[in-house]
């Protein structure tokens, strides 16, 4: 009985302690969902126009953007690379570099956001599987005669499924931090690039 109570607590979905409010089945995180980042949130330099968008596609800019956007590139290293690039670069070049970097991070973030939604749906599916198994177990305990071997097997299945569910649920905290970490990186890089903008004539 105690075990069943424990299940009931563990299976509460979404987890207790999350902010109250309408539950979005696609979004299990405590953090407010922000589907997209926008350039203006992160960039105070020259406005982005068609010419800058075209310049952002230049191979040398795209390559640099790919490197500095990566989280395994340290911020110090990214700063050095931007500084090298900034030698002789125009305001437009640097704006294009920011735009290309922003694009890289936005793409990575989109992947993470879609992943979180998939994760939420998998947890939901696992939750209902466990629920079904529990009902079956309940029926088996009430059946006559009782099939103890089948009951043991099912109990083990329930234990495993519950363990996986709980482990995943704990990992969710970290998974949910990822979009925020990416946004922080985009902002920090925007600030680094903006600091290198040549003064306006």
């Amino acid at each position: 009985m105690i075990r069943f109570l424990a299940f009931a607590v563990l299976l509460a979905w979404p987890v207790a302690g999350q902010a109250a409010g309408p539950v979005d089945p696609d979004w299990p995180c405590v953090q407010r969902r922000q589907p997209q980042l926008s350039v203006a949130q992160l960039w105070s330099g020259p406005p982005v126009d068609a010419a800058i968008e075209a310049r952002a596609k230049a191979p040398e800019i795209r390559r640099l953007a790919e490197v500095i956007a990566l989280r395994r590139t340290s911020m110090n290293q990214a700063e050095r690379l931007v500084e090298e690039f900034a030698q002789g670069a125009t305001r437009e070049d640097l704006t294009a570099l920011f735009l290309a970097t922003f694009g890289q991070i936005q793409t990575a973030r989109d992947r993470v956001m879609a992943g979180i939604t998939r994760y939420a749906h998998q947890q939901e599916a696992l939750d209902s599987q466990i629920e079904d198994k529990r009902h079956r177990f309940q029926e088996m305990t009430e059946a006559e005669p009782q099939d103890f071997d089948a009951m043991d097997d099912l109990e083990e299945e329930i234990d495993w499924a519950t363990r996986i569910f709980v482990d995943r649920q704990q990992a969710l905290t970290y998974v949910c931090e990822t979009p925020v970490i990416l946004e922080q990186r985009a902002f920090a890089l925007g600030r680094t690039i903006a600091a290198k903008l040549p003064r306006q004539p």
Partner: protein, 322 residues
């Protein structure tokens, strides 16, 4: 990094006077208060031993720092010179934000979970009154003459005007969704109330308690839902107001005479609360997601530098150092 140091030293040159002020920043997630020297903008001390510090303020003489330790359910008190912890004040549950009465003797504390404003005598550490207000009280402001304290309630969407002698609500003003902060102009004629979800600032005429203008914000390329006004401060001469716009990462500059927005300054991520330097030359902003504070030069409205502090900075207060 070199650049930041260079910028910091240029700020130091501008600041001039030999005695640096101190900046105290509460770090909501870092469970600490970061202390910075206002000239060098270097972290000179970190006060620890508190849970979820949010609202932060100082006594009028700048000698004592008060911190709403939300998860400790009390107000922690520190000596601004030695950083020594002084006896705590009762606050009621989950204190988020408070305001010091101009007499320096009473703190008015918003208790988000209990729908009350707790009034505490900072000398005797006694609770003087508990004023029932709307659901989820949040922002607190006080009129320059000290006669009215304003509390905003997040869910009821009201600014409650509380008489500081009788502790009774004398007026309620309905504002936009999730009001966060209240601040008077120095002449006491206008009361500003920010509305985070509504995305607006209400300018309330204090003679009639009517809204004279609802100020809206617009930054090209930023989604309207990211424009969430939170903290607000008015310059000592009453000419300008600064509004922190949360996840828009910007501070809006408001001309008080015309109630028009004149500029948007990019500071740091999730800009939350604001505080002036004691001489009013600089405005400090707490940026919760980039874990830093930005310094705005009030004369030129330029963001001069950003400095890393603890995790998720929430509130800021600057005091004179002896």
């Amino acid at each position: 990094m070199k650049l930041i140091a260079a910028m910091a030293s240029s700020v130091a040159l501008l600041a001039g006077p030999a005695f640096a002020d101190k900046i105290f920043v509460s770090n909501e997630k870092g469970n600490s208060v970061t202390v910075l020297d206002s000239d060098s903008l270097e972290v000179i001390h970190t006060i620890t031993g508190m849970q979820r510090p949010r609202g932060i303020t100082a006594s009028p003489d700048g000698k004592v720092i008060y911190v709403c330790a939300s998860d400790d359910n009390l107000v922690r008190v520190y000596d601004a010179a030695t950083y020594e912890e002084l006896p705590s004040l009762p606050s009621g549950p989950d204190p988020e934000l408070f305001v010091m009465h101009p007499d320096g003797k009473k703190l008015f504390i918003a208790n988000e979970d209990d729908n009350i404003v707790t009034v505490v005598d900072v000398e005797t550490r006694q609770v003087l009154a508990e004023v029932p207000v709307g659901v989820e009280p949040e922002g607190m402001g006080v009129s320059p003459d000290g006669r009215i304290v304003v509390n905003t309630s997040e869910t009821t969407n009201m600014a409650h005007l509380i008489d500081t002698e009788s502790y009774e609500i004398v007026a309620n003003v309905l504002v936009d969704s999730r009001p966060r902060f209240a601040e008077y102009t120095p002449d006491g004629k206008i009361l500003f109330v920010t509305a985070e979800i509504g995305g607006t600032v209400a300018a309330i005429d204090t003679a009639t308690n009517e809204i004279t203008k609802t100020i809206t914000f617009e930054v090209p390329g930023v989604l309207p839902e990211a424009l969430q006004p939170v903290g607000l401060r008015v310059t000592a001469d009453g000419s300008k107001a600064y509004v922190a716009l949360g996840p828009a990462n910007r501070v809006a500059v408001l001309d008080v005479a015309s109630l028009e927005v004149t500029d948007y300054l990019l500071v740091g991520q999730r800009v939350w609360q604001l505080g002036f330097s004691p001489d009013g030359q600089f405005l400090y902003t707490t940026n919760g997601n980039s874990n830093d504070i930005s310094v705005i030069d009030v004369a030129s409205d330029e963001v001069t530098v950003s400095v890393q502090v603890g995790e998720q900075p929430w509130g800021v207060v600057a005091v004179k150092s002896d």
